[in-house]
Symmetry: C2
Subunit: 232 residues, 2 copies
Amino acid sequence: MQARFSQIKAAITEGIENGDMQPGDKVPSENQLAEAHSVSRMTARRALTELVDAGILIRTQGLGTFVSDHRPMSSMLTIRSIHQEIEQRGHRYSNRVVAQQCLPADDTRAAWLGVPLAAQVYHTQVVHHENDLPIQLEDRWVNPAFAPDYIAQDFTSQTTSQYLNQVAPLTQADHVVEAVLATQNQAEQLDLSPQLPCLKITRRTYSAKGIVSFALLLHPGNRYRLGGHLDF
Amino acid sequence: MQARFSQIKAAITEGIENGDMQPGDKVPSENQLAEAHSVSRMTARRALTELVDAGILIRTQGLGTFVSDHRPMSSMLTIRSIHQEIEQRGHRYSNRVVAQQCLPADDTRAAWLGVPLAAQVYHTQVVHHENDLPIQLEDRWVNPAFAPDYIAQDFTSQTTSQYLNQVAPLTQADHVVEAVLATQNQAEQLDLSPQLPCLKITRRTYSAKGIVSFALLLHPGNRYRLGGHLDF
DNA sequence: GGTTCGCACTTGTATATACAAGTATGTACA
DNA sequence: TGTACATACTTGTATATACAAGTGCGAACC
């Protein structure tokens, strides 16, 4: 047995899918839907609310509810924690901490972290392994103001992001994904032949008080699966 | 003036951000929240519902509501239509239809499109230009069952996805993004030096009745900006 | 003719209530 | 000891109602 609000949702999406309602068209008002389906207004409203959340409909107070004209414009990019992902595949996760140091920020790092030039920042470089094969290179710069003990941690038992999320719960993050060639150095760390295309993901994380860290991920070969809606 | 359910949301997220509540912790029940904030249960419930939708909380009927332990695990990858994106930058959009043909599906295409081997499918290859510079290569295979007139369209005035979205409104789409090197042929179409890393996005679209098309996008240099939460 | 006001209709917020359904726990019973 | 049941508490669904707030239109007024 299906809930009633769910039936109303189905009726509306069906009307959109078979072309009865075009993008921009007005859908029946909450009161009309309520009467048509013999439910209360709040139940009809719930159906509309969930379709609005899904991006199928658009609501304007005082005007009405309409079929969205630009539905498939964005998509959930789901990237699980590298640790979890590997273990879910039934494989063995391990890592190697290549570098863990405190150094003065050059202009690029300073700009990304929002600290003065030459300010001391923490840097770690970790190679992640799946069944002892290197599959991911992580470069991370951390603002000491938010994680003063970062430099003293043991990151073989706990990932850097796990630790940071503990001491400075992040509230926001920006990401950029691009395709690059691995540098000589990076290729050596990952035990790759150079000139191999890699997915590079740059990420900047914010806590409530400022920029916590930015990290650089190199994924040779790894693919990311996307679900949802996307337009190109 | 802020709505009351919004105040409750703020109170909960604040509790999570300053560490009062850890992932896995139980948040007050709907009735407790209602009493504590002097609102009805439905209002307290709405606050929780929106936080659940946002991925901050997890609810289980009969058990309670808990702080999510894997908050920042996914991110909205927002990719606007190439056409819109270029025009929003104030640049000139144009394209060149390289191929538009009907041919028998090889095993790969047949598998992706869900049609028998050697079935006739439509294929188009379009190069998208920004200010007359090629920036994107689009390969698309279409199941004729859902768009029989696809092969006769003029795709200089209308993009392939615009047309398909009209004749067969899509209900779902899968995407895979990876880094590859452009092939000799692809590099020529895009007027690139070969051996350049490109973002390759493979997409399969579904209508209510089956697989409509799958497309392959090659983006040299182009970066995708992500917003929201992501974990690695 | 042009402005203002009021009305009808829409969505937004909030309440009080009722029952259904899932989970855990303890108690009574075999 | 162990199974079954009753109970308390949780979230899930649904209703009827009330008022707030935004939009559009027409009628009354100047």
